[in-house]
Symmetry: D2
Subunit: 173 residues, 4 copies
C-alpha cells in the first residue's frame, strides 16, 4: 500500500491581512498542493482562508485536499475553500488537534493564536518553519529556540523556500 | 461553487467482529462512497477498519474520501485504509469531534464506546440511523427515543437501506 | 501526608426534575459531604444543581467541597452552589473530564447526556452506581452490563444505599 | 450568598527550577492563599509543584484550596500538594481549561508550555501578570503586547507585587 500522504499544516493570522501576506499565504497553499501535500489550517478567515483558496487554485488539487480544523461545532463555520471540515467544538484548544495532524507546520505572520500554535507545534515536536517575511510571531520566533531544547524554529523567506524545506523534511526530495 | 460534500459518519464496535457484522460494515463503507459521501470513522480497528476498507474498495473512491478521527496523537494509530488521519489527542472525547463532522450517523453493532457516540449524536441533533441487524447498541436503541425528545433513532436492516435513508436525509434523492 | 480526598461524581438529568428525583439528588449531595467525599457534577441545572445544593446544606460542608465541570468557558455558567468552577470550553466533551475525576460515579435519572456519561464511566472503568428509583437511564442500565465486560452497573434504591456502597468502594468502611 | 472565591492560576515551567525561581513560586502560592485566592496550576512538577507546596504552607490553607488541572486521565499524576485533581485526559490542550478557570493568571519563568499558556490567557482575555524576575517567557513577554490588541502583559518583580496586583484586579483591595 502507498504510504499516507504527508500533511502540511499552515498556522497564521486571522482577520484582515496585509496584501503581501495574503499573496504569500495563497502561494504557499498552491505550492503545497502542487508538491503533493494535503493542506490543513484552522479553517477560518485571514491566512487560513488565503492558504485554502491558494490550495484550491492548484492544478493538482482534488476534492479532499484541503482540511479545516474548526473551533466551533458546525461545518458552516469553514471558509468556502475547505473540503474536509472538522468541527471540533473545542474552541481554541482545536489548535492542538490541528498541529497534531502535521508532518510539517508553516507559520505565517501571526498574533496570539498563531503564537499559541507555534508553541504547541514545538511542544509536540513537529517540524516548524517560520515564513519570516510575513512578520508577526513567525518573524519573531524564526531562527530561535522556544525553550532549552537544542533546536531552532526553521526559517524561510519565500513560500517557495518553505515548500522546498517541507519536502526535504518529509523525504519527498 | 459546489456545496460541500456530505459526510457519513459510521460509529461501531472496536475489536473482533462477527463475520456478518464485518461484511455489513464493509458494504456500508463501499456503498457510502458509491453514493458520493465522504466517510468518517474513529479510525481504529473493528467496524471502523471494516468500513474504511469497504470505502476504499469502491470504484468511486479517491484519495481523501476516508477520514479517521483518532483518540491518540499519532497518525500511525490509524488503520491502513484511512486517507485523512485526525490525531486529536483527546482520548474518548474525540467521539464528539467525530459526531460533529456528520451529516448523517450510522451505528453498527456496538459496545460502550458506540453507546456513548450514539448518545452524543442524539445530543448534538445529528440524524442517527441504527443498523439493527448488526446487534449491540444499534439494535437496542434503533426505533426508540433516547430521551424525552419527540424523535426516534432511525432503523435500517441492511447497508443498502441505511445508505438509501442517508441519501434522503441529505437531499441526494 | 493524608491521602487525597475521594471524589463522588454525580451525573444526572438537566432541566426540570420530578419532585422526588430532586429530593433524592439533594439528599445524595448532602450525604456525600457528610461521609467525607468531595462532590463533583456538570455544574449546571437539574440534578447537578440539586446535588450541589444538597452538598452545601451538609453540616460538614466547607468551601471547596463542591466542584462543577462546565461545558462553557465562563465561571458564571455554574449554579450558585458550586465552589470550584471548571469552565472547560469543551462542550459536551467535558463529560469525560467529569467522569475522569471520579473515585465513584452515581447516576440519577437521566436523558441522553447522562447516558453518554454512564457509557463514558464504563469505558474509563470507574465504579458506577445507578440510583434506579429515579428512573431514566439510571433505571434502564442499573444491574446490567453495558458491553461484553464481565461486570454490571451497580444499583441502589435510595441515596443512603448509594453512599453506603460508594464508601465501601473507596475503602471508607 | 457570598460571591465565588477568586481563582489565581499560576502557569510556569516544569522540570528542574533554579533555586530562586523555586522560592519565588513557593512564596507566590503561599501569599495567594494568605490573600484569599484559590490557587490552580497544571498540577505536575516544577513551578506547578512549588506553587502548590507554598499554598499548602499558608496558615489560611484549607483542604480544597489547591487545584491541579492535569494532562492525563489519572488523579495519581498530581503532585502531592494538590487537593482537587482534575484529570482531563486532554494532554497539553488542558492548558485552555486551566486558563479558563482564572480570574487572574501569573506566569513564572517558562518554556514552550508556559508560552502556549500565556498566549491562551491573552486570547481568552484573562488578566495576565508576568513575574519577570524569574526569567523565561515571563521575562520576554512582560510589559509587551502579544498581538495588536491595545494592552500589555502586566509585570511584577516580586511575588508580593504580583499578589498585590492580582488583588486589585479582582477587587479585593
Amino acid at each position: 500500500m502507498a504510504r499516507r500522504r504527508p500533511v502540511l499544516v499552515v498556522i497564521g493570522q486571522s482577520g484582515q491581512l496585509l496584501p503581501e501576506v495574503e499573496r504569500a499565504a495563497e502561494t504557499l497553499g498552491r505550492l503545497a498542493i502542487d508538491a503533493g501535500f494535503r493542506v490543513a489550517t484552522g479553517g477560518m478567515d485571514g491566512a487560513m482562508a488565503a492558504v485554502s483558496r491558494g490550495a484550491r487554485s492548484s492544478e493538482s488539487w482534488q476534492e479532499g485536499d484541503v482540511v479545516g480544523v474548526l473551533p466551533g461545532r458546525s461545518h458552516d463555520d469553514a471558509n468556502e475553500w475547505v473540503d474536509v471540515a472538522i468541527p471540533t467544538g473545542f474552541g481554541m484548544a482545536r489548535n492542538f488537534v490541528l498541529v497534531s495532524m502535521a508532518d510539517v507546520v508553516v507559520a505565517v505572520a501571526g498574533g496570539s493564536g498563531t503564537l499559541s500554535e507555534m508553541a504547541a507545534a514545538w511542544q509536540l515536536g513537529r517540524p516548524l518553519i517560520a515564513l519570516v517575511s510575513t512578520g508577526g510571531w513567525a518573524k519573531e520566533l524564526g531562527g530561535r529556540a522556544i525553550d532549552s531544547r537544542q533546536e531552532r524554529v526553521l526559517t524561510a523567506t519565500t513560500p517557495e523556500e518553505a515548500i522546498f524545506q517541507a519536502r526535504e523534511i518529509v523525504g519527498m526530495i
